[in-house]
């Protein structure tokens, strides 16, 4: 019995790797570090998700995509997806796979460290140049900023650093 429960959790984790950010299809919610807990009780699966930004309009869509994907596993009878706010999602939860997925989409991954004055720096995701300027801290979605690379002359986006130290 113990074995079965264990493997169902693993199956759920496996399929969640296929649930992508609806706005960045090269990264999954696992890569982004949004999945805090998968708990299997018999054939009922409870999944706890950390929202990146509270006003993110993609949250409902993500929830629905998780439900549809996990329900497709034949052993699963019911899926309960819950958004939780503690711990807070932070940008250092993004995995290495997530960071390269972002880059592949043309988005610079969030900087790992901020300077003591709160400023931060990223390199161009296309050419790797450090010669970039910040155009707008706010971008097309809540989690992204708009920058410009003076070297390869491309505008690009970056994931905002988000930390509980802010």
């Amino acid at each position: 019995m113990q074995m079965t429960i264990h493997s169902l959790e693993e199956k759920v984790l496996e399929v969640l790797k296929e649930v992508h950010d609806p706005e960045i299809n090269t990264v999954s919610i696992i890569d982004l570090g949004m999945v805090e807990e998968i708990n299997v009780q018999g054939r009922v699966v409870n999944i706890k998700i950390l929202p990146t930004f509270l006003g993110c309009p993609a949250l409902d869509l993500i929830k629905k995509n998780i439900e549809t994907t996990v329900e497709a596993i034949k052993e699963v009878e019911e899926v309960k997806v819950e958004f939780i706010y503690h711990p807070s999602w932070t940008s250092d939860r993004i995995s290495e796979a997530g960071r390269s997925g972002l880059k592949a989409f043309g988005i610079a991954p969030p900087p790992r460290l901020m300077d003591t004055d709160g400023s931060w720096h990223v390199d161009c995701p296309y050419c790797g140049s450090t010669y970039v300027t910040m155009e707008n801290i706010f971008g097309p979605t809540a989690c992204r900023s708009i920058l410009y690379c003076k070297n390869c002359k491309n505008p690009f986006e970056a994931m905002k650093p988000i930390s509980t130290l802010m």
Binding site: L54, P57, H86, S88, F138, G139, P140, I146
Partner: protein, 270 residues
Amino acid sequence: MTELNLTTAPENKEAVVSLLFQLADDDFLYSFRGSEWLGLAPHIEEDVASSSISQDSMGHAAMFYQLLEELGLGSADSLAHLRPAKERKNCILVERPNGEGDYMNVPKFDWAYAVVRNYFYTAAKKVKIESLKNSSYDPLAKVALKINIELYYHLLHWKTWFIQLFNSTEEARERMQSAVDRVMKDFGDVFSLGADGEQIVRLGLIEEEKVLVQRWKAQMKPVFESIHLPIPEIPSRTEANGRNFEHTEDLESAIATLSEVYRLDPAATW
């Protein structure tokens, strides 16, 4: 004080509910006024930035309404859209219109007023959220922790505009000064906790008004020093105290506009 005690005793629950409505209604109206600027901000990057801030803030309001829903007060959507002005607890400052006209016909909105209102309001919100991180009501403390992180960028944004416009041309400085005067006139109920204030503080939901006001001033001090102005005084009285359901007519028209679509079919699935 455990969470259970806080919401099982009726007089305690009343205090929790009162504070949640103040926080929810504040952010809801604040983001509505912000969203009216969409397409009208001084340049396109600012349009992206300020609408993003409005979107985040609407998310914060939704969280507070969600906490009320969990306490059995009704659905978050209906709490946001269907309550009349006389049941709202937002401060007066956030219900004021953006300027003359409206976005449907010849809006003559005042950017200086937007910058000052948004900066002062966000700085006040930051002070409250910091205090709420230690709230005795645990679900609220957790939400505050999350909101706090997002506020970092909002505060940075409005502070930058505020300092830059004050250090700009003579005309900019004059318009900013007159915006500061107008905003401060309405600032008297921003930190007020209303008629339930004593109970709210006694339960440890948030710190008392006096303490919050002192922190706001301390936060503003270096900024006002940099523009060579004294920190403006917060009036002890305002035209109305929104925390006690006293409002201006502007709130009624705002609610009528923002809930128009929702009221067409409250049962619709979005």
